[in-house]
């Protein structure tokens, strides 16, 4: 079979996966596609608005725009690189059609070529989804000609081969030393640690930045941003070439666009050839691990009977709670986002009070932040707590306990965690005198109400949109479920903003809410009613659930 026929078959399978199936799935996919288009249009409009404002500021604004374009290409570079390392291992070593293709009378180099293209398509999708709308917005704001938009497509396509080539090479090397089945876990830990390190670095340098943060110095800051963004390490990355091509074309300067374009084509070409030759050799000679090894025995120390602290929780709920916690704690892919957030929150009180100009936090900000952290966090964690069982969820379905008890136990995971986290955070703020104890108590109460509501809604979304056959955490929930999470999150911000507005007694639009305990009790009662309704609805849905897997 020729390479093109193989590619055509792979393409057909991909399209069939999207277009075939039950009508409900087709509708869900159509809604998902609509959502993606909406996000892209939203990003384009947002980028256009930002670049238009910057363009109106004259030379500093234009320079800042160039930095944003450069940063966009850097983001594409990093995202495509990470996604490629992640997908390389899966596509080259774990895909289900591999044994069929390898057993067929095909040259292995042809199988490699198909898999390489698959990895390219898969890895570039997310980065282009985010990057392209920003660059299109830039072109529209700059009133660029058609040449700019044609060049945008060409330059991006050429540029994306750089991270893909490097990513494939790295993926091959990583799969030599880390078994394919464990690569995602290792990378999850690494990315979490890098993210945390960057956040701490930002927090350490933040007070110094805050002292110069006033409106009068805005143009000075823009200039500083432009100088900082184009110098040092950033200037050494290949992202500067496509950025220079586009900024030159946006300014109508074709001659200036040519040298960086040639550099880009040359670098991409060299990287692509090197990757194809070296990675292919690594793959075909068996230098990398072909099988999903990593089935090494992993022994867990036996735990004794539950401590007295937990004995007040009924056995069934305690059992579901403990099992769900184990599923999170033993999977680095699941625990890293939660662990990173927890460490950030634990450190935050010590950073907040730093800086000579710190004057304390406004009550409205404290209440809103506490409630938002609790609501959004518990919404996502509770959703994951339901879906984390995956195909093993049927063990809960056949167990002779009411669905309400099972789901309540699942929601306790999120409620317990986020109530503890926000209360500890508020206590930290109180102890470091960032906020007063009275405000901390009110925020604690509000966050508890928000957590209960968020967890119940998370359970509802998880049960309704779970993809029980998920293999990696990002596929735990269907696209429609992700949209539901965004919609619920959006509705929360609208309602929370309205409530904050109602209680606001400050003048000139300043948020200085006068939230009394009576208000907080009313909010808690409303949240409890909604939470119970959502849980009852979910339990009813679970009772009627049919398990077809």
């Amino acid at each position: 079979m020729s390479l093109w026929k193989l590619i055509a078959y792979r393409f057909k399978i991909g399209v069939a996966g999207l277009t075939r199936g039950r009508i409900s799935r087709k509708i869900a996919r159509a809604v998902g596609l609509g959502g993606l288009i909406f996000i892209m249009v939203f990003l384009t409009m947002g980028a256009y608005a930002l670049f238009a404002v910057l363009a109106s500021l004259g030379q500093p604004g234009v320079a800042a725009s160039a930095v944003i374009v450069l940063l966009t290409f850097n983001a594409i570079l990093v995202l495509a690189l990470i996604f490629d390392i992640l997908t390389t291992t899966g596509i080259f070593f774990l895909s289900s059609d591999l044994s069929l293709l390898m057993a067929a009378p095909l040259p292995t180099s042809r199988v490699f070529a198909v898999k390489y293209l698959e990895a390219m398509a898969s890895a570039s999708f997310v980065s282009l989804l985010i990057g392209l709308p920003i660059l299109v917005g830039y072109g529209i704001a700059a009133h660029a000609s058609v040449v700019f938009f044609i060049a945008l497509v060409v330059v991006t396509a050429v540029f994306i081969t750089i991270p893909i080539s490097v990513g494939t090479l790295c993926g091959m090397v990583v799969s030599r030393f880390v078994p394919a089945a464990r690569v995602r876990e290792v990378l999850a830990v690494l990315s979490g640690m890098i993210g945390l390190g960057l956040w701490i670095a930002v927090q350490v340098f933040k007070p110094a930045m805050a002292r110069t943060a006033d409106v009068e110095n805005f143009s000075v800051r823009l200039q500083a941003l432009a100088q900082g963004g184009t110098g040092g390490f950033l200037s050494m990355l290949p992202s500067r070439f496509p950025a220079e091509v586009l900024t030159s074309l946006a300014a109508g300067n074709l001659t200036r666009a040519l040298p960086p374009l040639l550099w880009l084509v040359a670098i991409s070409g060299v990287m692509l050839v090197a990757s194809l030759v070296v990675a292919q050799r690594m793959y075909l000679t068996g230098w990398t691990r072909i099988t999903p090894a990593g089935k090494r025995t992993r022994r867990i120390r036996r735990t004794g009977s539950p401590s007295r602290l937990w004995r007040f929780v009924p056995t069934v709920e305690r059992s579901i709670l403990r099992t769900t916690a184990h599923l999170f704690l033993r999977d680095p892919q699941q625990i890293m986002p939660v662990a990173t957030l927890t460490i950030m929150m634990a450190i935050l009180p010590f950073f907040m009070g730093r800086g000579s100009q710190f004057v304390g936090l406004r009550p409205g900000v404290v209440l809103f932040a506490a409630a938002t952290l609790a609501f959004i966090g518990s919404l996502n964690l509770a959703m994951s707590a339901v879906v984390i069982d995956g195909r093993a969820f049927w063990w809960l379905l056949v167990a002779p306990r009411s669905s309400l008890r099972k789901l309540a136990a699942k929601s306790l995971v999120a409620v317990g965690f986020f109530v503890a986290l926000t209360w500890a955070l508020l206590a930290g703020f109180g102890a470091t005198h960032v906020i007063g104890w009275k405000l901390a108590l009110k925020a604690g109460w509000l966050s508890a109400s928000s957590t209960i509501l968020g967890a119940s809604l998370g359970i509802t979304i998880g049960l309704a949109f779970a993809d029980w056959e998920w293999d990696i955490p990002k596929r735990m929930i269907k696209l429609a479920g992700r949209l539901a999470l965004v919609l619920v999150g959006g509705a929360y911000f609208v309602v929370a903003g309205a409530v904050l507005g109602i209680f606001s007694s400050g003048s000139r639009g300043a948020v200085q809410p006068d939230v009394r305990w009576a208000h907080l009790v009313a909010i808690a009662a409303g949240s409890a009613v909604l939470a119970v309704t959502a849980l009852l609805f979910s339990a009813r849905r679970m009772d009627k659930m049919e398990w077809t897997l």
């Binding site: 090494r296 059992s319 579901i320 099992t323 184990h326 056949v398 002779p400 009411s402 049919e546 897997l549």
Partner: protein, 252 residues
């Protein structure tokens, strides 16, 4: 112990199980046979309450699985066709989790877990994480979980698939022992030799319909010929290419 009455499952126009009626007595080991896609797993899922019948009823120990699901599920243990377990738990933790869901008290559970681990030759790997288990070990862990609450009815979907001969023998012995203890076993299988050797009675399902029920001797005697095997009876009832056709195809 298990009564299926006019059980039907439709998906739109497709009929997965058609008007199936069957009674399995206490202490009986019942084999449920049928070709691929005949409706075995759908029937088992309806018995366990994982699928809702389009019409008809399932009664387990006198409890209707649709009307009194909690009572019916309490006396039932299920071993599915593919052992889907919680891969990040250890075998011991997993069985304990299922036991707690079925409200088995701590002392009884500890004793039963130890007994089952020894019985199924799993003691050495009890504290290993399930994702490192082989398919056969997962199947055994699944069986342990199905038995931890001492169910009156055990339903198994292809329990010996992927098991080595020694493990398959252990499973067959366990199932026979359960019946001796008065438990009821409902087992689907493709392996006719197992059905012939182990089962008290068998039912054959083909194209969604139950086409025969009885002891293997009864089914063989129905064919009217001497020396027929259960395989002959099965192929006669479920169809399939004749030997001549196969030879003709291979030599063409």
């Amino acid at each position: 112990m298990l009564t299926l009455t006019n059980l039907t499952k439709r998906y739109g126009k497709f009929v997965a199980v058609d008007d199936l009626s069957l009674e399995v007595r206490s202490g009986e080991l019942f084999g449920f046979l049928g070709p691929n896609g005949a409706g075995k797993t759908t029937t088992i899922k309806m018995i366990c309450g994982l699928l809702r019948p389009t019409s008809g009823t399932v009664q387990i120990a006198g409890y209707d699985i649709q009307k009194e699901p909690l009572r019916a599920k309490a006396v039932l243990g299920l071993v599915p066709d593919s052992p889907v377990l919680y891969k990040k738990l250890t075998g011991r933790e997993f069985v304990r989790f299922v036991g707690e869901l079925y409200a088995v008290d701590a002392k009884t559970m500890a004793r039963r877990i130890d007994d089952l681990l020894k019985l199924l030759d799993m003691a050495a790997s009890a504290d290993d994480i399930i994702e490192t288990y082989s398919h056969g070990m997962k199947q055994k862990a699944s069986l342990m979980a199905a038995l931890i609450h001492d169910p009156k009815l055990v339903v198994l979907d292809e329990p010996t698939v992927s098991l080595d001969p020694r493990s398959a023998k252990i499973v067959k012995d366990v199932l026979k022992a359960l019946c001796t203890m008065g438990k009821t076993v409902f087992m689907s299988t493709h392996i006719l030799e197992i059905a012939e050797r182990v089962c008290d009675r068998v039912g054959i399902i083909n194209k969604a319909k139950l086409v025969a029920v009885g002891t293997t001797a009864e089914l063989k005697s129905r064919s009217g010929e001497d020396g027929v095997s259960l395989e002959d009876v099965f192929l006669e009832l479920t169809g399939g290419p004749e030997e001549e056709e196969v030879i003709k195809f291979l030599s063409s």
